[in-house]
């Protein structure tokens, strides 16, 4: 029953079982066990990647002449995501050894992380909706558990609830979409559905599917769960944002792209992607929380991937997909280190960078995010720009977003890099070898991915994906590089010239400005949410009072019978003269009746 690619899940599941059964008190044993399991599953992944792509079917259950199967495929896209997930998971688990230093919570953390990783791996190799939804919903649930990991603190439970409520909308619409797909095609296999002739109602399940994708990938109406989700542990954020969870939605569109093309839904994806990336970029400029700025940059990146898919530029989407993985995890891991060494403070004005490695990795990560040559981020952003250049409006918006993203990420970097006086700092002595080692590995991965993009593009992508010859678009590349350099230098000189006290004072007064109010924390989306919430609450209020009234009515209805009974009870009072009276009355009536008759 077990097919070969599913063996990647086995070590992870065994390790998670160990985490449930055993409770290693005051030791780091669990973290090493889970690291080993992740390493083994990485090796199996490599083995899967070497094998030629194939499709496997496992029967789950048969019902009513239909069979419900798990279908697993190992084509290029599956292998790509699988590779990224298992690669990043190694970094995350190394990082976690130093990060999770509360022994009593270790088992819970590793259990949730391992299930999360295996759900993502299952998702990445799934080729039908059954195996997809299992991975999809387990991802949502474990991310809920991981975001609310520090549940004894004040904020994380709320953040987790926001996340799960949004994700729940996605899960339900995913189920709706699956059910409609099944009735349209009588199969749930992706490749069969893609190759079947187009059905008239195809766009209906696809729209529900898009809702699910937008919730998971934090697209426009559902962007708001991602920034509160920063309350979770940093390795979780890094994993969530770099290769798993939020990428799941994008990946699903990539796989089902032919269907979206057939049903003319690309414009919707393009539009939502543009709105989302503008929201992400502008909110990141107004934010001060070290991790939330990167979270908004994730929203922006996901929006850009949606734009690429909306333009039917598969190559650009994939390039963004790959490069984003490395710089995002690098930025998160480094900022987690900074937060840890400042006693979990999060305002960028209060933080400073104390280690050379962190400074280098932050700079390279930021440069890659901004899209500076020769780092790999450049190849992602520029290929999207090249694909968009035929459409002037989209192109201009994209250039603006590139400029904004360079601005906010270097604002983030230069404020932190500025030397702080003693009164702004809350430095504690902290050093962790495993965390630094993970950051170092990630740095190497980012640089080597840049190297691959420059020199060995043809080895990354197979021949059937249309690639860009970067040499023939020098004009676009130079324009974008100049813009980014302008952004970098303006931020550099601006933050160099101003004193720290001035910046903090300015930040305090920023709440008063209209622009800040407009861009900070997605006010309008929250407004819509609260409207919907109040609407449901109003209906619920009406129904509640109706239910009370209904119960009262039943009570009074019962009371009528009691009253009647009370009246009738008086007839039987046990007094003989009353009975004689009734007897006489009855006799009179009887006699009268016979007389009249």
């Amino acid at each position: 029953m077990f097919v070969f690619p599913l063996y990647i899940l086995v070590p992870l599941l065994i390790a998670s079982l160990i985490a449930v059964i055993n409770n290693f008190k005051n030791s780091k044993l669990m973290s090493y066990i889970s690291l080993i399991s992740v390493l083994i599953s990485f090796l199996i992944t490599l083995f899967v990647i070497i094998q030629p792509g194939n499709i496997y079917t496992i029967n789950w259950f048969n019902f009513n002449n239909f069979s419900f199967n798990f279908v697993i495929s190992t084509f290029f896209l599956n292998k790509l995501l699988l590779f990224l997930v298992s690669l990043i998971s190694i970094l995350i688990f190394i990082y976690s050894i130093g990060f999770i230093n509360v022994p009593s919570e270790q088992n819970r953390y590793y259990f949730e992380m391992l299930i999360f990783t295996s759900a993502m791996m299952l998702f990445s190799i799934s080729a039908n909706f059954i195996s997809l939804i299992i991975g999809w919903e387990l991802l949502g649930i474990t991310s809920y558990l991981l975001i609310g990991f520090w549940y004894h603190k004040e904020k994380p439970p709320d953040a987790a609830r926001k996340a799960i409520t949004t994700i729940l909308i996605g899960d339900i619409s995913m189920l709706v979409s699956i059910v409609i797909f099944f009735n349209l095609y009588h199969t749930l296999n992706f490749y069969t559905i893609i190759n079947s002739p187009i059905q008239p109602l195809l766009s209906v399940p696809l729209i529900f599917l898009l809702i699910a994708i937008f919730t998971k990938s934090a697209q426009f109406p559902f962007t708001n769960w991602l920034s509160p989700a920063m309350e979770g542990p940093t390795p979780v954020s890094a994993f969530l944002h770099s290769s798993t969870m939020v990428k799941a939605g994008v990946f699903l569109i990539i796989i089902l792209l032919p269907l979206f093309i057939k049903s003319h839904l690309l414009y919707l994806i393009l539009f939502i992607g543009l709105i989302t990336s503008i929201i992400g970029a502008t909110n990141a400029l107004a934010e001060n929380h070290i991790k939330k700025i990167i979270a908004y940059s994730t929203i922006e990146d996901l929006g850009l991937m949606m734009v690429a898919l909306g333009l039917n530029a598969l190559y650009a989407a994939l390039a963004l997909f790959i490069v984003q993985t490395f710089y995002k995890s690098l930025l998160f891991l480094s900022s987690g280190y900074i937060m840890k060494s400042h006693d979990e403070k999060s305002d960028i004005h209060r933080l400073s960078i104390n280690s050379k490695l962190i400074l280098i990795s932050l700079f390279i990560g930021s440069a890659s995010l901004a899209g500076l040559f020769p780092f790999s981020g450049f190849f992602g952003k520029i290929s999207l720009d090249i694909f968009a250049s035929s459409n002037l409006i989209v192109y201009l918006i994209l250039v603006l977003i590139d400029f904004l993203s360079a601005l906010y990420i270097f604002r983030w970097l230069f404020i932190m890099q500025k030397p702080k006086t003693q009164k702004h700092k809350a430095m504690i002595s902290f050093s962790s070898f495993s965390m630094k080692f993970a950051i170092f590995l990630n740095l190497i991965l980012l640089l080597s991915s840049s190297f691959l993009f420059i020199f060995a593009l043809n080895y990354i992508f197979p021949a059937n994906i249309l690639k860009i010859d970067y040499m023939s678009y020098l004009k676009d590349e130079i324009i974008s590089t100049i813009l980014i350099l302008v952004a970098i230098f303006t931020t550099y000189f601006y933050y160099k010239s101003k004193s720290m006290d001035y910046l903090i004072k300015k930040e305090k007064n920023a709440n008063k400005s209209i622009a800040h109010k407009f861009f900070y924390n997605n006010v309008f989306i929250w407004l819509v949410y609260s409207l919907a919430y109040n609407f449901i609450l109003a209906i619920s209020n009406i129904m509640y009072y109706f239910d009370k009234l209904f119960n009262e009515l039943i009570y009074y209805f019962a009371l009528i019978f009691i009253k009647i009974g009370n009246v009738l009870k008086r007839l039987e009072n046990g007094q003989i003269n009353t009975y004689i009276l009734f007897f006489a009355l009855g006799l009179i009536f009887l006699i009268l009746f016979f007389i009249i008759k």
């Binding site: 789950w60 259950f61 048969n62 019902f63 009513n64 002449n65 939804i133 299992i134 919903e137 387990l138 649930i141 609310g148 549940y151 004894h152 004040e154 439970p157 709320d158 987790a160 609830r161 799960i164 409520t165 729940l168 909308i169 899960d171 339900i172 189920l175 709706v176 699956i178 059910v179 409609i180 099944f182 009735n183 209906v204 449901i536 609450l537 209906i539 619920s540 209020n541 009406i542 129904m543 509640y544 239910d547 209904f550 119960n551 039943i554 019962a558």
Partner: protein, 482 residues
């Protein structure tokens, strides 16, 4: 080997009688022996029947179909037989009832002073629950129905919380009204079928001979009876009160098994009366109204038990919706939904009961930080919530999948409407978890009190929820579409 087969066949031919005899003997022992033995006897009795039903599950899974009948002549002059039998539909519910009964006898029944009475009532209800799902005869169906109602009435009336008198009377009046309608309907069926029989199989084959207007009368009578039991919106108001006042074991049995009587009845109605198909759209609308009504009322409740009670109305509304689809996906989906709901709701009520025991309150506003004091219960509540919402790998996912595939076949895109109620239900359950399970803003009472039996029952219920969720073919192989 031959002897073994003969033994098995001998055993099988009497197995259904044995299933009813075991609790019948146990109840005598409980009545005769001292109070300290009563709990053990109840556990033994429910455990034995559970073991038999698990054996039957394995046996049926091997031979691939479910079909046994036992018949003893009961009242000769009226041609009433004591027909017991199992078909795929009743077997699933029979199995579910036995799991819940065992869980109830083991964990729901620990901290009460009146153990003898409590065990007695559980075993009385065991007879009723087993007998009802085994009955192939409307007459004994009715008898077992009333036994169940009466045993739960006493359970609420004697063992319940302070406000139990009104709630139990309300429950009794509603249920007796339902059973009088049921009796009336059954008698009409008896007199209008040409062969004058209570046997369900014979009624199904001869149902076309009942005149259409009489069928309508029977349909309305039985539908109202079963709708009260399910419950469906205008007839629901006994359920939240009964649940709030009932003891833990009462809630588990009430929601876990008694509401399934109604669901089983509706499936019988669907099989017996051809006229059901004409009115299925109205039933679906009633189900949707009931689903949304209960979800919206649920969102204003403050009592955890009341919330779970209203969620029962939602889930049973989905079951009714599934049956009204009139296709195999809907029918078997709703049976699966009943299985799933019974297991999950028993778990949830057990947790609610244990929370009340620890904190002395069930108010969502007052409770805080349950996960700190009652860690295992909190985790199980979380998993139960995931299961209610329909997480894959739990039974609820299979149920939802089958029901809504059928819904789209029957009602088109309107069929997905009930899913939005599940969305609201899930959102509110997460709100509860956030408010009273996670946030640890000072609630000082710190008694970590959980018995080993209760842990074991959590394990059993979760085991079956995941077993039938991960390996749905165990059940679905038996449910061969007719």
């Amino acid at each position: 080997m031959l002897i073994l087969n003969q033994l098995i066949s001998q055993f099988l031919s009497n197995i259904l009688d044995i299933c009813i005899l075991i609790p019948a003997i146990a109840i005598i022992f409980i009545a005769l022996l001292k109070e300290k033995h009563s709990r053990q006897i109840s556990i033994l009795s429910t455990g034995l029947v559970l073991a038999i039903s698990l054996f039957l599950l394995i046996y049926f899974y091997k031979i691939g179909n479910v079909n046994i009948t036992n018949s003893i002549l009961f009242i000769k002059s009226l041609n009433i037989n004591f027909n017991l039998g199992l078909n795929p539909i009743s077997f699933v519910l029979f199995l579910m009832a036995n799991i819940i009964l065992f869980a109830t006898a083991l964990a729901g029944n620990v901290h009460r002073a009146e153990q003898k009475l409590s065990s007695f009532l559980i075993i009385l209800f065991q007879i009723s629950g087993i007998g009802l799902f085994l009955s192939l005869n409307l007459f004994i169906f009715f008898i077992f129905w009333d036994i169940g109602v009466i045993s739960l009435f006493f359970m609420i009336n004697i063992l319940g919380s302070p406000n139990r008198r009104t709630a139990s009377m309300k429950f009794l009046i509603y249920e007796i009204f339902a059973s009088s309608l049921l009796l009336f309907g059954i008698l009409i069926i008896y007199f209008y079928t040409p062969i004058h029989s209570f046997n369900i199989q014979k009624i199904i084959t001869n149902s076309n001979l009942i005149p259409a207007n009489i069928q309508l009368v029977i349909f309305v009578l039985l539908l109202i009876a079963f709708a009260i039991n399910l419950p469906v919106f205008p007839f629901h108001s006994w359920l939240p009160d009964a649940h709030t006042e009932a003891p833990t074991q009462g809630s588990m049995l009430l929601s876990g098994i008694l509401t399934k009587f109604g669901g089983f009845g509706i499936i019988l109605l669907f099989e017996m009366l051809p006229i059901f198909k004409l009115y299925s759209n109205y039933i679906a609308i009633a189900a949707i109204v009931s689903i949304f009504y209960s979800v919206f009322v649920l969102m204003k409740q403050d009592d955890i038990k009341r919330v779970i009670a209203y969620s029962t109305i939602t889930e049973m509304g989905i079951v009714l919706f599934g049956i009204s689809e009139l296709n195999n996906f809907g029918l078997f989906g709703s049976i699966y939904a009943m299985l799933s709901h019974g297991l999950i709701i028993a778990l949830m009520f057990l947790i609610a009961g244990s929370i009340e025991l620890i904190y002395g309150t069930r108010s969502i506003k007052v409770l805080k930080g349950i996960v700190k004091n009652a860690r295992l219960s909190a985790y199980c509540f979380l998993i139960g919530t995931f299961a209610i919402v329909g997480m894959p790998l739990t039974t609820a996912f299979i149920a939802d999948l089958l029901i809504f595939i059928g819904a789209i076949q029957s009602f088109g895109l309107y069929g997905i409407i009930p899913l939005f109620a599940i969305l609201l239900l899930g959102a509110f359950m997460y709100f509860i978890i956030n408010k009273s399970f996670l946030s640890t803003k000072k609630y000082s009472k710190n008694i970590d009190f959980i018995r080993i039996e209760q842990k074991f029952v959590y394990f059993i219920l979760l085991f079956f929820i995941f077993l039938f969720g991960i390996f749905p073919f165990i059940i679905l192989k038996l449910l061969n579409p007719i």
